[in-house]
């Protein structure tokens, strides 16, 4: 398997043909830039600026990498990058417990999905014969084979967790504890879009598969409705926005499972990314200025500035898709797609209309409703100004004000790209117009119905959320996993170093011995050559020294005997003409003896802690371990698989590397990049060791 991946694994061929003229790539970078500028203003005078902004940039870059990645493993790499960075970003206010819990939830859910995705991608790569997305998309497979169902299930699990489709959408609204730039970014261009983008990438491969089609249609459809309803129940601006995102992602997923829906999906991804990030940043401004995100509280404020009202209204129009905004064209594509998909089935069309109206109500509640309560109206209703809050408005940075405007404008400008691809026939235009009118009419009707039961509905929403979704669906399960983890840790890692060691050795025996038993065909085919007398003497000395080191009572003697084992080995290397290895072994052993002597200098004397049965058990384990390693070494020396590598290295040493010592030439020239990695690891290890020792010294100092 490994051999299949690596020979044609070109480190830098990340993108292949996917980078050219990729609107998603430009889109992600654009939103990233906007978010960073907005974040610059948002975190003015805040210590979090230096924490969030670099992470935002990294997050944006990994998302950009994801949309252009061509190699499946690169895709997976960027996918996991977005998971990790989102974890760090959601936990921006890591001082708060809520923040930590939410970020962990996001990491758990997307991380579990990531593992499944990795398996799915590896299987896909193996069974399609190519790890390049552009090649896989062009091929046709016999999707009836059971393996493809497994692949689809694994991939879909990764996708639905990442995109927050049902039943794994719990982390999405909880991620709202993050500051506005982060949540806006998560919900518009990056994290949740990753899943649906992957669906569109894979659509050409799997679109004829009923499992793929049905599961996506079911989950995405449910999510769309669920998000639209849940958003109605929220009074928190950001939570409501989060649920509308859920709903829209559901819609995009609904369209993206087939190649025909790609255009719908892409135009929705672009349009939604623009207006949703703008809405989030707008809500961020409101939150900063008036220090509240509650719709009802905001309604009681009469000091909403004119600028905010204007922005809110215009964003509302961007969201609902009035003509000449991006979402107008996105909706047109959607209608077109539905007409084709359901073959003039008007039930689906009615459902779509109702869904759209619900979304309109949501956007109205978020972007218009809180800011139109005026003092006069309120007084007329309650006949006093009591409960009216006249808060001073906080000033905010100019960068924060600019970005929603920029995004709204680009939402209009991006129509130049989208409108070129509109292919609605003249006969369909009638339907499109009926649709729009129906949506707007229904919206008005539903809104006034809804408004009467506003408080009741919100109480219901709160209860549903805290009782069922958070406590029962997530917390209880998490506690169960924790219990299992504690149980398992108590068995495997119970705090005694000797048990750790035993566990490690036993695991190695099982893994190594198992794989040798099952996979190695033959070993020791070579006849044993003549053994010379001095070799025999050295081997005997090594065995005696090893034995001495286990039975001696003095720690020093044991260390020195270990050193003797090493010296004996290095002499053996010398016999078999490996002077470099011999020298290294010799010096390493000398240094090990010195360092160990230094380390053990302060330790107490040896004492008998283990009983006889323990000793016998440990002895048996040690013998088996030694035996397994010996067999492994023998079979490795016997299996001469890569002779060509050896030959080329030997042949090329003098003409190409101009040196006579093959070992050194390989280390410092042919495979210098490996050596560079090794010395970096060495350095890291040394620094880590140094840090650990420092901690101990400090603690000791405190105690004394």
């Amino acid at each position: 398997m490994v051999q299949n991946i690596f020979p044609n694994f070109n480190y830098f061929d990340i993108t292949g043909p996917r980078i050219e003229n990729n609107p998603l790539f430009q889109f992600v970078l654009f939103i990233t830039a906007c978010t960073v500028i907005y974040g610059w203003g948002y975190f003015e005078n805040s210590s979090k600026r230096n924490y969030v902004l670099p992470l935002l940039i990294l997050f944006g870059l990994s998302m950009a990498g994801l949309v252009i990645a061509n190699h499946l493993l690169w895709l997976y790499f960027f996918w996991e990058c977005t998971s990790v960075f989102s974890y760090l970003l959601i936990g921006t206010y890591y001082e708060k417990k809520e923040s930590r819990e939410s970020s962990l939830q996001a990491l758990f859910i997307t991380g579990a999905g990531g593992l499944s995705l990795l398996l799915g991608l590896l299987l896909l790569g193996e069974h399609s014969g190519s790890y390049y997305l552009s090649e896989i998309q062009l091929q046709h497979f016999n999707l009836e084979e059971p393996i493809w169902s497994t692949i689809v299930v694994l991939l879909l699990f990764g996708i639905i967790t990442k995109s927050g489709l049902l039943p794994f959408q719990g982390w999405l609204p909880n991620a709202m504890v993050a500051p506005a730039p982060v949540s806006g970014f998560l919900h518009s261009a990056t994290l949740v879009k990753a899943g649906v983008i992957l669906i569109t990438f894979l659509a050409p491969v799997f679109q004829e598969m009923p499992l793929w089609e049905n599961s996506i249609l079911l989950l995405a459809g449910l999510t769309a409705w669920y998000g639209a309803f849940m958003a109605l129940l929220q009074n928190d601006l950001k939570k409501a926005l989060a649920y509308t995102t859920s709903a829209t992602i559901g819609l995009i997923g609904f369209a993206s499972w087939t190649e025909a829906g790609n255009l719908v999906a892409f135009s929705w991804i672009l349009a939604h990314g623009l207006y949703k990030s703008a809405s989030f940043y707008f809500v961020g401004i409101i939150e900063k200025k008036y220090e509240s995100r509650n719709i009802l509280k905001l309604r009681k404020l009469f000091s909403i500035e004119f600028f905010d009202k204007i922005i809110g209204f215009s964003l509302f129009f961007c969201c609902i898709g009035i003509p000449f905004t991006a979402s107008y064209y996105a909706k047109k594509h959607l209608v077109d797609f539905y007409l084709n998909l359901f073959q003039q089935n008007y039930y689906a069309f009615v459902l779509c209309t109702i869904w759209q109206s619900l979304m309109l109500i949501n956007y109205f509640r978020i972007l218009v409703f809180p800011y139109i309560g005026t003092r006069e109206r309120y007084q007329a209703m309650h006949e006093s100004a009591e409960g009216f809050q006249e808060k001073s408005v906080k000033t905010i940075s100019i960068w924060m004000k600019v970005i929603p405007v920029v995004l709204a404008i680009s939402s209009v400008l991006s129509t130049f790209k989208l409108s070129q691809r509109v292919t609605i026939h003249a006969s369909d235009v009638g339907i499109w117009e009926y649709f729009t009118v129906a949506v707007y009419g229904l919206f008005t009707l539903l809104f006034f119905m809804f408004y009467r039961y506003h408080h009741f509905v919100n109480a219901l929403g709160k209860k549903l959320y805290t009782e069922i979704l958070w406590k029962w669906c997530y917390k209880n399960k998490l506690r169960m996993i924790e219990k299992i983890a504690i149980m398992q840790t108590n068995i495997v890692q119970n705090g005694y170093l000797r048990y750790y060691l035993t566990m490690f050795v036993v695991a190695t025996i099982l893994l190594l011995g198992g794989s040798i038993y099952f996979y190695s065909e033959t070993f020791i085919r070579k006849p044993v050559t003549e053994i010379l007398i001095y070799e025999l003497i050295i081997v005997a000395m090594i065995i005696i020294a090893a034995f001495m080191s286990t039975i001696t009572r003095s720690r020093m003697a044991s260390i020195v005997s270990l050193g003797a084992v090493g010296m004996g080995c290095s002499v053996l290397y010398l016999f078999y003409s490996a002077p470099d290895l011999a020298m290294t072994q010799f010096l390493t052993d000398t240094l090990i003896v010195v360092v160990m002597a230094l380390l053990f200098y302060d330790l107490p004397r040896y004492s008998r802690l283990s009983s006889k049965t323990d000793k016998i058990r440990d002895g048996i384990i040690a013998c088996i371990f030694g035996g397994v390693i010996s067999i492994l070494v023998l079979s490795v020396t016997d299996a001469q698989i890569y002779t060509e590598v050896m030959d080329t290295m030997l042949k090329k040493t003098i003409p190409e590397a101009r040196g006579h010592n093959v070992v050194n030439v390989i280390l410092a020239d042919f495979r210098a990049i490996d050596t560079l990695g090794e010395i970096s690891v060495l350095t890291t290890a040394a620094i880590g060791m140094y840090g650990l020792l420092r901690i101990r010294t400090k603690k000791g100092g405190d105690e004394s």
Partner: protein, 138 residues
């Protein structure tokens, strides 16, 4: 516990060991030796010094913190890699004095692999002495 014998021997051996370590480093490309082995040799010499005079004293022989040596070594190796870029060749390409750019100007069979090896040498010395000194301080 200062042993006179150990101290005297160390005084004699230290320069010799260090010279041998340099010798091993320099000849590494053509004969057994190289940066790793040379570095180990040098660290053994410093350990010997530590055994004789106390491990705290190693720092004064090194004239600097081992971590500085560590960093310098890593930097040296990395730089030898970047030399390739200067000649419009891939990262870590071996460059020699007696061929290419300097051919005829400097007639010396020395190249960037040696620089790389020097980096390895320094890293090994830094790691071992650093660990030993840190333990001794503990």
């Amino acid at each position: 516990m200062r042993s006179i014998i150990l101290i005297s021997i160390t005084r004699l051996m230290m320069p010799m060991l260090l010279m041998v370590s340099l010798f091993l480093l320099l000849r590494g490309h053509d004969a057994p030796g190289g940066g790793f082995i040379g570095g180990l040799m040098a660290s053994a010499a410093f350990c010997l010094y530590g055994l004789a005079f106390g491990f705290q004293k190693i720092k004064s022989v090194l004239h600097t913190d081992p971590r500085v040596i560590l960093g310098l070594g890593l930097l040296t190796s990395l730089c030898s890699g970047f030399l390739g870029y200067l000649m419009h060749k891939p990262f870590l390409t071996a460059l020699w004095f007696d061929e290419g750019f300097f051919n005829g100007v400097i007639n010396l069979h020395v190249g960037s692999p040696l620089l790389f090896d020097i980096g390895v040498y320094l890293v090994v010395v830094g790691v071992v002495t650093g660990i030993v000194i840190a333990h001794a301080e503990d």
